[in-house]
Structure formats: C-alpha cells, structure tokens
C-alpha cells in the first residue's frame, strides 16, 4: 500500500494519471451542469413563496458547498505537504486556492443578488455571511502569501501553515446558522433526516452539486499539472512528457 502512496507522490506518475483522468471529469462536469441548469430552470416546480426567485439556489448552494469542500482539501494537502514533505501536495494546495476563491465569490454574489428582493438587503453582518467573507479573505491571504515569497520551499511552508490555521473557520461557517440566530436560513439538506425541500426540486440541486464537484476535480488536476511542470522544469521527464508522447 505504501508503494502505491509513494508512487502517487512522484510528479511524473501524478502527471500521467492526471492527464488520463482530466477529460473524464471535464465531460462529466459539462453533462451534469447542462442537465442541472435545464432541470433547475425549466423542469423544477416554482417555490410556494419565492416563485421563480428560488432558482438561484441551483448555483448558490453548490458554490457555497464547494467553497468549504475545496478549503478542507487545500488544508489537508497543505498539511500532508508539511508533515511528509511532499512537494506534490503543496502543488495541489496551491492549485486549489484560486478555484476555492472563485466559488466563494460566486456564493457571496449569488446570495447577495437573491437577498436584495427576498430579505430586503444586499448584505447583513450576520454570522453566516461574515464567516463566509472571512473564508474569501483566507483564500486571498493564502495566494498573496505564496506570491510574496520568492523561495519555493519557504512559500510552501508558510502558506501551508496559514491554510491549516484557517481551517478553524470551516466549522464556524457550517454551524453558524445553528449556533447563533442569523438572518441566513439553517441548512436545507443535512446528512441525517429528511431534507426540507421537495424531491422534484432537490434532485436538480444534487445534480448541480455533482457537476460542480467534477468541474473542480477537472480544473484542480489541470492546474496541479501546470504547477508540477513548472516546479520540475529542468528535469528530464518534463521534456519527455511535453515533446514525445
């Protein structure tokens, strides 16, 4: 089992596997997102209170879930890089950050657009919205710290520490709606118990979530490949991988 683990940690091996996997996830993402958008906009019934206004949920909820999921992945990769000194893990953490930041921004923007007509305001400083904004700044901080340090190894270690410390914010975002009374509503889908959403609406939400997930995997693999190539730019296997198939 450990040989498998060590093999995965080797950049040329990772490069080959990622090249093979990326198209699968890319096409799956495209199919799922097209199906989810169609289902969410045309097939799903309107909501009893918000009418068609609720449909922004099909972008908002998957983006918000992904923003947390990607952060946890980034922190785990950073921790693996820090503990076992795996450079590939640092490369993956670095590849995660801009994608996570984009999804966080998308969650905040779609939430804000929905909140203006429904709540009556673009923004409130309640616990859920504020902690999600902190998440965006954590991603920005991670990227800025990497960019600010020239030495690759030091940049890896410093940013990994920041990513690990920031993981404290993830449970705060997730449970903010339960711990404090917030303007943001509590979770609709939870692992335990029946979701408080009609199944005709929920199915498209889950399809969108799966689509966003595949999109993330496809993009993170592509970005990590580029990062790996750049780090190993003077090694022989890079030349072989790029010139001769």
């Amino acid at each position: 089992m450990w040989t498998w683990f060590h093999k995965l940690g080797s950049p040329p091996h990772f490069y080959r596997i990622a090249t093979r996997l990326t198209p699968w996830f890319g096409w799956a993402a495209l199919l799922l997102i097209v199906a989810g958008v169609y289902g969410g906009l045309y097939v799903a019934p309107t909501d009893y209170q918000q009418l068609d206004g609720f449909r922004i949920i099909y972008v908002h909820v998957p983006s918000a879930s992904l923003s947390l999921f990607i952060y946890v992945n980034m922190a785990l990769a950073a921790a693996a890089g820090l503990i076992w000194r795996i450079k590939l893990a640092h490369a993956i953490a670095a590849a995660c950050a801009p994608i996570g930041a984009s999804f966080t921004f998308l969650a905040l923007a779609t939430g804000s657009i929905w909140a203006k007509p429904m709540w009556g305001t673009w923004w409130v400083w309640d616990a859920r919205l504020t902690s999600e904004l902190v998440l965006l700044f954590l991603y920005f901080g991670f990227m800025a710290l990497r960019a600010a340090i020239d030495d690759e190894n030091r940049a890896d270690r410093a940013s990994a520490l920041l990513a690990i410390i920031g993981v404290i914010n993830v449970p705060i975002i997730k449970y903010s709606v339960d711990w404090w009374n917030t303007l943001h509503q509590p979770a609709t889908i939870s692992k335990l118990g029946k979701p408080s959403m009609d199944s005709d609406m929920l199915i498209w939400l889950l399809i969108m979530l799966a689509g966003f997930m595949c999109y993330f995997v496809a993009v993170v693999l592509t970005r990590a490949k580029a990062e790996v190539l750049q780090r190993a730019r003077d090694q022989k296997w890079v030349r072989q991988a790029l010139e001769g198939k």
Binding site: Y48, W119, I164, W180, N181, L183
Partner: protein
C-alpha cells in the same frame, strides 16, 4: 520519534489550541454575534437601553395595518410567547406577509412600540411547490388560510 511525527503532533496541537481559543472568544462575544432579539427577550428588558437593536419574530395574523396614502405600516411581531408592536415606513421585502419571520432594526419608543427603519424578511429552510403547500394546509385544517 521521527521528524514527521513531531510535525504531525505540532500541527495537531496548534489546531487544538486555536480551536479552544476561538471557542472561548466566540462564547465571550456571543451577545454581539446574535443578530436579533426575540420579543420575549425584549419584554424581559435584555436589549441594551437607549441603543438601536434588532427584534425578530413572526408577523401576527391580521395585525398588518397600512395607513392609506402613505408608506407607513404597523404590525405585531410574536415568538408565540410575547409580542412587540412595530411601526415602519418604507418598502417591505417580497417575503413580508402574515406568519412570516421578520427582523426589524430600530429602537424602542417610550410607548413600548418598536420604531423600525429597516425591515428584513427571514426565509426558512423549506422549499416546496405551491400544490404541496396547499395540500399541507388541508391536512392541518384550512383555518389558517
């Protein structure tokens, strides 16, 4: 002990320490993180006196009273224990209606009513098509409609 075990333990300790610290910090600040007070808390005098705060509750059925030719609207908020009468003049959000959760921002006036300058609608976590809502109402007795 190998170096990587030391690093693993160090990271674990940092996370535990930070987690504990954050927990205590958030508990100490609990009152400031609360977004709104309930009518019962208002009745008990919990909100700071002479300062603006938010009160949240359900709009009592039949309590909405609009002044003709004016944006002023009066309604009563309840948490099913105590009530707070609210006066507001301005545009109400889409989701404002009887029985809806509402959060009003403003201050208590001397006559015990709440003068709001911002009214926000709190949406709940339930999503369903109108037909489902109709059948739910029939099951629970049509008296609410």
């Amino acid at each position: 002990m190998k170096a990587r075990h030391q690093r693993l333990i160090a990271i674990g300790l940092v996370l535990v320490g930070l987690g504990l610290g954050t927990t205590f910090l958030l508990r100490a600040m609990n009152e400031n993180i609360l977004f709104y007070y309930s009518p019962s808390q208002v009745a008990a005098g919990e909100p700071p006196e002479g300062r603006r705060f938010r009160v949240g509750g359900l709009v009592v059925n039949g309590s909405i009273d609009r002044a003709p030719g004016d944006l002023e609207v009066r309604f009563v908020l309840t948490d099913n224990a105590k009530t707070v009468p609210v006066v507001y003049s301005g545009i109400l959000p889409d989701l404002f209606r009887e029985g809806q959760g509402i959060i009003a921002h403003g201050e208590l006036t001397k006559d015990g009513s709440f003068r709001a300058d911002e009214v926000l609608a709190k949406h709940d976590e339930n999503y369903m098509p109108p037909e489902v809502e109709d059948s739910l109402k029939q099951v629970h007795g049509g008296a609410e409609t």
